[in-house]
Amino acid sequence: MTLWLWLLLSCVLAYAWKLLGYLVPAAWLKNPRISRVAGVMTIGLLASLTVVNAVASGQALVLDARVGALAAAALALLLRAPFLVVVLAGAGAAAGLRLLGWG
């Protein structure tokens, strides 16, 4: 039940960000620091989420089939595959490696 609470709060905060943009004075847009922080943080968060999902298991670092998924996804992206194909490559690599008995 508490997950619902955090989830709905996240929705409220997400909308608050969006609406805030429409309500602040236009002059704020001229401050490059704000958009720098937003952009750099987007890169940092996505990099971090990639790593956490690839090698973290609770508080432990483990190498398992997910590393294979990371490699397969990178390869698909290098070959300019669309997003869904990239996701399927990741799933296929992880599932395949597990069939072979690893991770």
Binding site: G21, Y22, V37, G44, G58
Partner: protein
Amino acid sequence: MRTALTPAVRIGLSISVATGLYGISFGALSVASGLDFWQTMALSLLLFSGGSQFAFIGVVAGGGSGLAAMGAATLLGMRNGIYGMQLNALLQPKGWRRFAAAQVTIDESTATSTGQTDPDEQRRGFWTAGVGVFVLWNIFTAVGALAGSALGDPKQWGLDGAAVAAFLGLLWPRLKGREPVAIAVVCALATVLAVPLVPAGVPILVAALVAAVFGWFSSGPRDEGLEPDVDPYPGGEHGRGRNAGAATGEGA
């Protein structure tokens, strides 16, 4: 009411299909991470921002707390505020439209709109992509969530690997040039160092702090990291300020 398919409308529709389709992967991964069908739908209907939605379920899947999931999703949503500022200056929506515009202010609708030069086209592009992605993203989230719950053991299907791939896929279009790659590497290292030291979910917030400090004290392109996951203008035509000349999915 003119119904002609102007260039902005056509691009808005194609970006809606491309983005909406990968709502399937969000829906499937969300139920695999332990959320139920309605929690999954609440994220797509109410939070409606792909990166933040994936962040929320990514933290939950990794055993993080609801608070940490909210933190990651909210920090990732900050860029939508920047988009709101840009779109407000561009489209100046009034009354109820402003509140509707806010909800569909995401990477794709912003990119479709700012890629146009004519004010009417900017408006059409924004609404077509915004509403189009919203409708299709929610339909395909439902499809993915129903399919995901029917799959059984998510690990057997490699869904944890699919999550890894999804995050790399979201990061990839933002790695244009040496600096964003350096930011990504530093934040990835900070995460690895933090994992054994702090509770699950918190390493992501540590990386966000590192990135925020770097962004605050460094100078560089102000639109860095503010690229859409699916670029509506892959050829870089339309003389866009950002992304100009960069092809979709082009890495560093």
